[in-house]
């Protein structure tokens, strides 16, 4: 297979060289080299003698894409990846893969299409990658790691990577409405094994109606379904979501008013599930934003009502798989404790991140997001939110947002949980404030989440709190040479009932779980910026995790990394 890839690559490159002279070919891609030296340390009553406490990993890779435009209506991109793992075992370190392959064009100057790899999103309730657990406003030393994750997993503005076809076209009108745009896609989530697993397809259609410069309406249809006849098994899944969207923009009281709303229904059905007919529900989400550009201020308030049985595979898939520890010190305490993803993995380990949507409801992590674990598409939430953003051009900005929510249907009791989430983030651009040319940025953030349930029965009481503090600095000490510092500290305390769910996402058991977890991630390093998007960075980071879960010992990971990254 590698020989085939190599031959294809050489042929494509030779052809590309030929076409380069005709200005119909361009090259695109990226190169990266990374080395990580990791040290693990744990304190347990029984000395850990079986965990390998140090390791060094690294790789060099190049992504070379050939962008071909054989005519003015067609564009083709093929991207190859050559990756060399440092110190690979039994020749297993060298990889040669096709990373991207797509073709797009226009038919009859009216219909645009794309075949192959697609980066797709619709609306936050149909198909959308919420990145729900990512800390907001991350310090740069973590942001550069997060950008590598985004590149590796094809995350681009809340998209999911799929393979299939997409087409769109638009119609313009003289009266009543200005424009109607149609957009549709069909992809394959899973291939049949020709025995007991059927083909699973995912499709969506969006119709956008632009009535005027003030009002736009939309209809969105989303579906994931198993194709009848592609396997002997008859338990076929079918998830359908239909939503209507509204956007209003107008002027009011010296400012601009922007109202966005979406409402719809969902149905999740299995053709042969014992005791389950289907899960059906509806949702309503409305937000209003007042913008005062001259005062550099925007205010936001909204209402959400997401039904307890609202299920949308495309919008409720998590980007992080908490059942995957990411390959770094997976087991410790003499192999007795599985290490779950911590802040270190959240910031920069692409191994725990998913590329595609998941057909089954993925487990959430209470420590990272107890309030909206599936983003705004989190089911069983009712309440409101309000926010404020002030961004002065002199270099100071502040973002505040608060969610006040409750359950619609209780879990194990009629008493309902209340959820609160408050976030505040501050940015000081000292270079702008002081008028100096060298960049200096300071970031601070504070977030609090709480889950409470009061009940006459003491056992049902829930009281969970999570605090997260973040701070970061980016200081340009010499031209294009930055010192980077970052800190995230997170503390989870209290107890909650964490549901076990069956394969149809219904609650089957409730586990009372106590949290006394404290995590801290400290990082510091240097970055040299070259032309374009090229940089070299060396940084050290340290993860401390105290009481990761009940009965698991504390641990500490120290990591020194060297990364050279180039996009071209």
């Amino acid at each position: 297979m590698r020989t085939l890839h190599l031959t294809l690559f050489i042929l494509a490159t030779a052809w590309a060289n030929q076409l380069q002279a005709q200005k119909t070919v361009s090259f695109t891609g990226a190169a990266r080299s990374a080395v990580n030296n990791n040290t693990f340390n744990t304190q347990d009553s029984i000395p850990d003698t079986s965990t390998v406490m140090r390791n060094t990993t690294g790789y060099a890779l190049i992504d070379l894409g050939v962008n071909i435009r054989p005519n003015k209506h067609t564009e083709i991109l093929g991207m190859f990846r050559i990756r060399n793992q440092y110190g690979g075992f039994w020749g297993a370190g060298v990889g040669f893969d096709v990373r991207q392959l797509w073709l797009k064009g226009i038919v009859a100057n009216a219909v645009r299409y794309q075949l192959g790899d697609l980066n797709l999103k619709q609306t936050p309730f149909t198909l959308y990658n919420h990145h729900a657990d990512r800390p907001d406003s991350m310090p740069d030393v973590f942001l550069l790691q997060q950008r590598i994750v985004d590149y590796e997993r094809f995350y681009s503005r809340n998209t999911w990577r799929q393979q299939g076809l997409q087409a769109d076209f638009g119609l313009s009108f003289a009266k009543l409405v200005k424009e109607v745009d149609f957009n549709g896609y069909l992809t394959r989530l899973r291939a049949s094994n020709l025995a007991d697993i059927p083909d699973r397809l995912m499709g969506g259609v969006t119709v956008d109606v632009l009535q005027s410069k003030h009002l736009a309406l939309s209809w969105n249809g989303f579906s994931v379904f198993d194709v009848r006849g592609t396997a002997a098994d008859t338990n076929r899944m079918d998830n359908r979501v239909q939503t209507f969207g509204l956007t209003y923009a107008g002027n009011i009281a010296g400012g601009q008013l922007l109202i966005k709303g979406e409402s719809g229904t969902s149905k999740l059905a299995f053709s042969n599930a014992a005791g389950l007919t289907s899960l059906q529900d509806y949702f309503i989400y409305v937000s209003g934003k007042l913008l005062f550009p001259t005062k550099h201020l925007s205010l936001e308030a909204g209402y959400m009502n997401i039904g307890p049985d609202f299920r949308s595979i495309g919008a409720q898939s998590k980007d992080i798989n908490y059942q995957n520890s990411g390959g770094l010190f997976n087991r410790y305490a003499n192999g007795n404790s599985l290490r779950a993803p911590a802040l270190l993995e959240l910031m920069g380990n692409e191994q725990v991140y998913q590329t595609s949507v998941s057909s089954s409801l993925m487990p959430a992590a209470q420590e990272f997001n107890a309030v909206l674990p599936y983003g705004t598409a989190t089911f069983n939430r009712l309440g409101g939110f309000a926010g404020l953003r002030y961004a002065h051009p002199s270099g100071f900005s502040v973002d505040l947002k608060h969610h006040q929510l409750r359950e619609i249907r209780g879990q194990g009791t009629l008493s309902l949980k209340a959820f609160q989430q408050t976030k505040a983030h501050f940015l000081l651009d000292i270079a702008k404030l002081s008028g100096t040319r060298k960049g200096k940025k300071l970031r601070f953030g504070i977030e609090r989440q709480s889950v409470n349930r009061s009940s006459n029965i003491a056992f049902e009481t829930v009281d969970f709190n999570r605090w997260r503090l973040s701070a970061g600095a980016e200081v340009e000490v010499f031209k294009k040479i930055d010192l980077l510092f970052g800190m995230v500290q997170q503390q989870s305390k209290g107890a909650d009932f964490i549901p076990d769910r069956d394969e149809y996402s219904r609650v089957s058991f409730l586990n009372r779980t106590s949290y006394q977890n404290k995590q801290q991630l400290l990082a510091g390093g240097i970055r040299c910026r070259f032309e374009g998007n090229t940089y070299f960075t060396a940084f050290y980071q340290q993860q401390v995790n105290k009481k990761p879960s009940e009965g698991t010992p504390d641990y500490q990971i120290r990591q020194f990394s060297l990364i050279y990254n180039m996009n071209f």
Partner: protein, 333 residues
């Protein structure tokens, strides 16, 4: 502008009508129920006290509780120390969740021996036990290549590199996960990855090719592999060589070879069970295109090579294998 405002306000009013809701049901089991004191409504029992798994008999455990619990039945063999765990949740134990077919969770496999089944309930210190005697052990239908009870088949071809502490022999001791014997592969080879190798021809199994189903989705290759702690990591490579043209010989340039590369990065025994159609061709550990008809033909396998590999820089490497077999579904040992 007026139309837009009217539409927006109308839509918002419509949405607010559906605004508040609170349901008079709840998800999952009742917390009140979960929190009440545990009581056994029907005692923990088995439908038989001696069982012949070899005759396809099963044991069904039953019990009833006054509330939903997470329960675990631990069955331990008194002689073999085999350990089976059956877990579930609910307010009763019954078929199918409470059925034991003679399989094991933690090696070794069960032998003909008295066993003790113990019911444990999460959050409860008490446990409930009962005896079950195995009169014949579970049979795993399929093609058994070897369980190493009687040494290495004399028709298998051996290769041992020049090196230090080389071993390619069967052992009979308490470490065996099945029966009494297993195969030990070990050695230090400072100049090559390969330490020892065995060629398993089809001839001892009745013909020029192995007697397997032609459907690669209905053939599973299984083996038990032991990772020795604190040694140079081993890699066990199985090469399945197909005689595509049925001329009685395997030609590596014109016929398919599929490779299963197992990186032994664990300690203790572990079951490796892989569907034949999922096994790909490798060249130096990397996927490559098969050189024959590129179809998985388990009914054309003429030779299986088993190689023990280890990084020459790493020093002594050791692993053990047992119970090489093909089945139609993943092996449940």
């Amino acid at each position: 502008m007026n139309t837009s405002r009217f539409t927006t306000i109308a839509a918002l009013l419509l949405l607010s009508l559906a605004g508040c809701r609170k349901e008079q049901v709840f998800d999952g089991p009742s917390l009140e129920d979960l929190n009440k004191s545990f009581a056994l409504l029907q005692p923990f029992a088995a439908n038989k006290d001696s069982v012949a798994f070899g005759n396809k008999e099963l044991v069904t455990f039953t019990a009833k509780f006054n509330k939903t619990v997470q329960w675990h039945i631990h069955i331990r063999g008194s002689a073999s120390k085999a350990h089976k765990v059956i877990s579930g949740q609910g307010n009763e134990i019954a078929a199918p969740a409470g059925i034991w077919n003679g399989s094991t969770t933690y090696f070794p496999m069960f032998t003909e021996e008295p066993c003790t089944a113990t019911l444990r309930i999460d959050g409860l210190s008490d446990s409930f036990s009962l005896p079950v005697k195995i009169t014949s052990v579970k049979k795993n239908p399929g093609l058994l290549l070897s369980d190493f009870e009687n040494g290495i088949n004399s028709m298998w071809r051996r290769f041992v590199q020049s090196g230090a502490s080389m071993d390619l022999a069967t052992k009979q001791d308490s470490l065996a996960p099945q029966g009494n014997g297993y195969l030990n592969m070990a050695g230090t080879v400072s100049w090559d990855w390969l330490t020892v190798m065995l060629d398993i021809p089809a001839i001892p199994y009745g013909g020029a090719v192995l007697p397997l189903n032609s459907n690669p989705d209905a053939v599973y290759f299984n083996c038990l592999i032991y990772g020795v702690p604190n040694t140079n990591p081993s890699l066990v490579l199985f090469q399945f060589k197909e005689d595509d043209n049925k001329d009685g010989n395997f030609n590596s340039n014109t016929e398919d070879q599929y490779d299963l590369q197992v990186n032994v990065n664990w300690s203790g025994w572990k079951l490796v069970s892989v569907k034949y159609s999922d096994i790909i061709s490798l060249s130096n550990g990397q996927p490559t295109t098969p050189k024959g008809d590129s179809k998985h033909n388990p009914d054309k396998i003429s030779v299986i090579s088993m190689l023990h590999l280890a990084d020459p820089k790493g020093g002594f490497a050791n692993t053990k294998v047992d119970y090489l077999c093909f089945t139609s579904t993943p092996l449940e040992p």
